[in-house]
Symmetry: C2
Subunit: 204 residues, 2 copies
DNA sequence: AACCATCTTTGATTTAAATCAAAAAAACAG
DNA sequence: CTGTTTTTTTGATTTAAATCAAAGATGGTT
């Protein structure tokens, strides 16, 4: 049940068996269908989630339009971070893109863990650093890459995203219109159809 | 000497006088002229800087072009964060935009402080959270705003940036070409020339 | 299966911004 | 101050991507 989580965490810090146990005790296992809202905009977030299975997205309302600020995939942590830490209303909704299984850690539970053992603070910092780095990289992508390049890079990082996430959400995540993304897809398909000089000249 | 720093830190955590003193002892005061390179790309960063006076930028080489990933202004902290924390070669150079006065905290000094007193870990986390939030906001700007809007927002946040930072660096920071930014400036000037219906019709 | 709603594709057109090329302005060095 | 280099502005042109409008496709529901 907690394998994916513990495997992931051991990449960041070494956890003793008792530490692992006390973490697992603090977690709630939850399962939700597609489109379920885990946090409404305006609410204060009380949980950090670990995605055991499925995909989650942070959705932001900007001038009538729904913008996906980020996705969270299997093996990663999701939170309305600022809201969770500073107990402020969240600007984003957290919505499930697919049927999902998650582990939820409440604010109070994390507090208690952190009071007991500094390893949890350390872990928290590692995660924060990781997601911060990701965000910085993403800014660089916007600064230096065109729409097709950004899509290309996303696919390299997450080839499965194409089939699992609706195009509209992907487009807003990448900062382009739906139509543009749809056209990029078509171009890519065409190029794949003649993958490796199968027939140098089709007229032959 | 350390006033700006301590004022800033007290916004984040409460520091006792002894804590303040041990921090100041750990800091080196440095002063550098414009264009000085504080960290070369490829080197491992050994310092976090606090800008007492001046502006610093993180410059990234992308296909022959120099991209400014971020600026650091008076009253803020600058670091090649990933390099500093994980002892890896930095992908960015840190260069001073103007003559500057800084406080430098070495990796070992921070280590020692953190071992002595958890308040420094806590502080570190606060800063990380702050800069992470900033980065997320910046991504949102790229997702949802046009070039003029991004420039507009930057000016609202930092009106002084216009005069202090060369246009080329600003343009790459905003993810647009120099020419585009130059044209945005012209437009803004024109609009300011007739600020508030000074003369409804100049022919009168 | 037939219907409805939502999502995706496609085409035509407009708009935003990049690129290319060169002039003007500013900063700097001797 | 003068010449030199770098930065900024400007104009013309091209390219990328948004928008508008509509048609197809897909998925779920009864």
């Amino acid at each position: 049940m907690y394998d994916t989580l513990l495997r992931r965490l051991n990449q960041l810090v070494l956890l003793t068996p008792p530490q692992q146990r006390s973490l697992c005790k603090a977690l709630q296992v939850v399962e939700h269908p597609k489109d379920e809202v885990l946090l409404e905009a305006g609410q204060v977030s009380n949980h950090i989630y670990f995605m055991t299975e499925g995909i989650l997205r942070a959705s932001h309302q900007h001038e009538e339009k729904d913008v996906t600020r980020w996705f969270c995939f299997e093996g990663h942590f999701a939170a309305a971070h600022f809201s969770f830490v500073y107990r402020q209303p969240s600007e984003d909704r957290l919505v499930l893109v697919t049927d999902s299984k998650l582990l939820a850690l409440s604010h109070t539970a994390l507090q208690q863990l952190s009071d007991q053992d500094p390893v949890w603070i350390d872990l928290n910092r590692h995660l924060l650093e990781h997601y911060y780095t990701t965000s910085l990289e993403r800014v660089l992508d916007f600064q230096t890459r065109s729409a097709p390049e950004r899509y290309q890079r996303l696919l390299e990082a997450r080839p499965d995203i194409e089939t699992k996430v609706p195009l509209g959400h992907l487009a807003s995540f990448l900062g382009m219109s739906q139509e543009t993304l749809s056209r990029l897809r078509r171009k890519r398909k065409k190029q794949q159809q003649v993958p490796k000089n199968a027939k140098p000249n089709s007229k032959n």
